[in-house]
């Protein structure tokens, strides 16, 4: 209720102000609550990212958006007594994440929209809002650890303590300028403890289910999403060939396939179960299949590399690399080229190296950098 009294402005200036990106889930809620407990001046912000979709995938009429998630976030903020705002990030998300996702699939690559969202939305778009609101830092509920190396004067990114929940793979794109202003307080907790903390703090989201893999696709399959969003002329059908050039079937558009896929190929051959997708011949609109052995490869080129720690570009770097989020990182040698391009040679062949996915370089627990896989070295 309005109380028109004279108040002192000074008390707001003393404390460090932190913007917490709140999805309405348990992780970001606990993040906000922990920071509030630690005495920071916390502001909760929920970003509307995509058009609201009902459970059955139909578009909701009207202009309002995923009210359940924003309501959950709002209730948590009321509970822990911090301000809360909803920001419309739909245009930015559409332009930087969804369009990129569609474009990548149409270019025969398998994108990772979470990585794109981190670098373009959470740790770029949201920083402008943080600046507007006078927030020094942004905190998220990511499971990863950021440490300040006082001697080198640099920030370093490490895996989460809970290997099950580790999200460091998705964060390789963070630069020093960004890391300096980001907090991820959950990196040192196991998920079970996070839920327990949420419960103890009386947060209504303590038992809320974890979010889906691709938030904007909804309940359906990504293929249907892409087909709904693009013209048919962009999704040409074609033939399926083996690596030897033998024609073994027809496909319904290359966007429907990803490297390593075996299901749903409908091959006309004696032993269809033997074949996996091993690549694309986009010039001839052909899908290339091969045996499981042919899925195992050692060399790749990746682009858009970002190094979090300093590396010596003049000599090959020996480290371990992860080629998808669930991959166990494997030993490799990285050679640097111009234009942020790297060549990676694994010691042992790796299964289903997929263009479009990120390759993230680790030194034990530490993320030293990462890039996006562009192509394998000579497919045929």
């Amino acid at each position: 209720m309005a109380k028109d009294g004279v108040r002192s402005m000074s008390k707001q200036i003393d404390r460090i102000k932190i913007l917490v990106a709140m999805s309405g889930g348990v992780d970001s809620s606990v993040t906000a609550a922990l920071l509030k407990k630690q005495g920071y001046d916390v502001v909760g912000v929920h970003m509307l990212l995509s058009e609201p979709v009902t459970a059955c995938g139909a578009k909701l009429t009207g202009r309002c958006c995923s009210p359940i998630d924003s309501c959950d976030a709002r209730r948590v903020c009321e509970k822990i007594d911090i301000p809360f705002y909803v920001i419309d990030a739909k245009d930015a998300f559409r332009g930087k994440v969804i369009d990129n996702f569609i474009h990548e699939y149409l270019s025969c690559r398998t994108p990772n929209p979470c990585i794109q969202c981190n670098s373009e939305i959470k740790f770029k778009f949201l920083f402008e809002k943080a600046d507007e609101l006078g927030c020094e830092s942004i905190a998220t509920g990511h499971y990863a650890q950021i440490r300040h190396d006082a001697i080198a004067g640099k920030y370093r990114l490490f895996k989460a303590l809970d290997p099950q929940k580790d999200q460091s793979y998705f964060l390789f794109g963070l630069t020093q300028v960004v890391l300096k202003r980001v907090l991820m307080p959950l990196g040192a907790f196991p998920k079970t403890l996070v839920r327990k903390m949420a419960d103890e703090m009386g947060l209504s989201v303590a038992n809320k289910e974890d979010s889906q893999e691709i938030c904007f696709v909804g309940d359906g399959e990504y293929k249907d999403f892409i087909e709904n969003q693009t013209a048919e002329t962009l999704r040409l059908k074609g033939l399926i060939r083996t690596t030897n050039g033998q024609i073994v079937g027809e496909h319904d558009g290359l966007h429907r396939y990803t490297v390593g896929q075996r299901k749903g190929l409908k091959l006309i051959t004696n032993d269809p179960g033997r074949f996996f997708v091993v690549g694309f011949d986009s010039l001839n609109r052909a899908l290339i299949v091969g045996t499981e052995e042919e899925l195992f490869r050692k060399d790749l080129f990746a682009t858009g590399v970002n190094w979090i720690t300093h590396v010596d570009g003049l000599r090959p770097i020996k480290c371990k690399a992860r080629i998808r989020s669930q991959h166990k990182e494997a030993a490799c040698v990285v050679t640097l080229f111009e234009n942020d391009t790297v060549r990676v040679e694994f010691d042992e062949p790796q299964r289903a190296i997929t263009p479009g996915q990120a390759i993230v370089f680790y030194d034990e627990e530490e993320v030293i950098g990462g890039a996006v896989i562009d192509r394998l070295l000579s497919l045929e």
């Binding site: 028109d4 707001q12 309002c64 995923s66 009210p67 924003s70 301000p83 909803v86």
Partner: protein, 398 residues
């Protein structure tokens, strides 16, 4: 900053509970007897509750002017529903009166600066085959009544116009509207949610006229509203059982209690000097600012500012963090804001519409609070302009 100590400058969204509401509520809560029962019951409990409704109806009719009778007041669950109920009733009655063949021959005129509750009825009306015309709006936000006579058709069944605009405070030229509508005997609906208590209402009970009223804008409990419908207007509606179900007795009691003490002249006398001071100070101390609708008569408590080169949404958030509650555009269910349709209808660009905030005050707003607000506003607008310019230059990483 929590809502407890924030300075409230968003009275048009919902006024703080009026002292008379509080008095009425505490009186009723003390004598619980008065709250027992259904006003439709025959017994003593029912009668007692029914009297509360009658009292409120009487107070409301008095607040609207001479010659207005209590039985012309109908309670609704809100101002929004008052608008929607009357629009629906009039259009449905007009369609029914034309019979089967008349389906496509009902015409409704409204404006692009109406409250969302009215605008949402346009889609509905179109599905029934009603043709809808929008009265043009001047760039100062006033519905242009001069073109109304040319827009009238034989089939025009209803004209709906917002009396006082909720976002800009611009007062519509209702006298001209009265003339046009009564000459042709067309049903006129005025959305009076923001006019009630802020503007002397000289209404002609002889016309076919309905006015919607809202409780939460005058400091009654939210979830209350009313319609005043003249006798000749009622003749044009088939069904006047607008509201079924038990009335919101507590809410209606507050509605009556506040209506009894409404005094637009005294209110304006208190509010206008403070708002004039605010507008004057903003224009003197901030460059690149427009007061939307300022060329018109506006109610005393509302100012809508466009600050070049900023996002209103960010300004509202930053001001909230500093302890001041203002608004931008129209809030949606999820809590985000869309650019104001009112400013877009006035010919502002999307960027301009997004760069706007509304400040609306009330009788208890004090000058020292406005001083404090101004000091924060200057700093915040400057900060936002600098931040947004810096980001536009970089186009990327912080």
């Amino acid at each position: 900053m929590s809502a407890r100590d924030a300075i409230y400058l968003d009275w048009n969204a919902g006024a703080p509970l009026h002292p008379e509401s509080v008095k009425a509520l505490s009186g009723l809560l003390e004598s619980r007897v008065a709250l027992t029962g259904n006003p439709s019951s025959i017994h003593s409990y029912g009668r007692r509750v029914k009297c509360i409704l009658s009292d409120a109806r009487e107070s409301i009719s008095w607040s609207l002017g001479n010659g207005i009778r209590p039985e012309q007041i109908f309670f609704t669950p809100s101002g929004t529903e008052a608008n929607q109920i009357i629009i629906r009733s009039v259009l449905e009655s007009a369609i029914a009166a034309k019979g089967e063949s008349g389906k496509n021959h009902v015409h409704w005129i409204t404006t692009g600066v109406e409250h969302a509750s009215t605008l949402r009825m346009i889609e509905w009306a179109k599905t029934l085959g009603v043709s809808v015309s929008l009265l043009p709006v001047t760039k100062d936000g006033r519905p242009d009544i001069s073109v109304l006579p040319e827009m009238l058709m034989d089939e025009t069944a209803l004209i709906s116009v917002i009396w006082v605009n909720n976002e800009t405070g611009v007062i519509s030229d209702v006298n001209s509207l009265f003339k046009v509508a009564s000459k042709k005997n067309i049903f006129l609906h005025l959305d009076g949610a923001q006019a009630w208590g802020k503007q002397p209402l000289s209404l002609d009970p002889g016309m076919a006229l309905a006015v919607s009223l809202s409780g939460c804008k005058i400091g009654a409990l939210s979830g209350t509203g009313a319609l005043w419908i003249t006798d000749s207007a009622r003749e044009k509606i088939r069904e006047t059982d607008f509201r079924v179900g038990t009335e919101n007795v507590l809410g209606i009691a507050t509605l009556g209690a506040v209506a009894r003490v409404l005094n637009p002249e005294a209110w304006a006398k208190k509010v206008r000097p403070i708002m004039d001071y605010l507008e004057d100070a903003v224009c003197r101390n901030i460059d690149g600012v427009i007061i939307n609708g300022s060329a018109n008569d506006r109610v005393a408590n509302t100012s809508n500012f466009t600050f070049d080169g900023i996002e209103g949404e960010g300004l509202v958030m930053a001001l909230d963090l500093a302890g001041f509650s203002v608004s931008a555009g129209s809030a949606c269910l999820s809590g985000k804001t869309d650019p104001s349709h009112v400013l877009l209808a006035m010919g502002r660009t999307r960027a301009q519409a997004k760069a706007s905030i509304r400040v609306s005050i009330g009788e208890s707003t004090r000058l020292d609070c406005i001083e404090e607000f101004l000091n924060v506003l200057y700093v915040t607008v400057k900060h936002l302009r600098e931040t947004q310019t810096r980001w536009r230059k970089m186009g990327c990483a912080p």
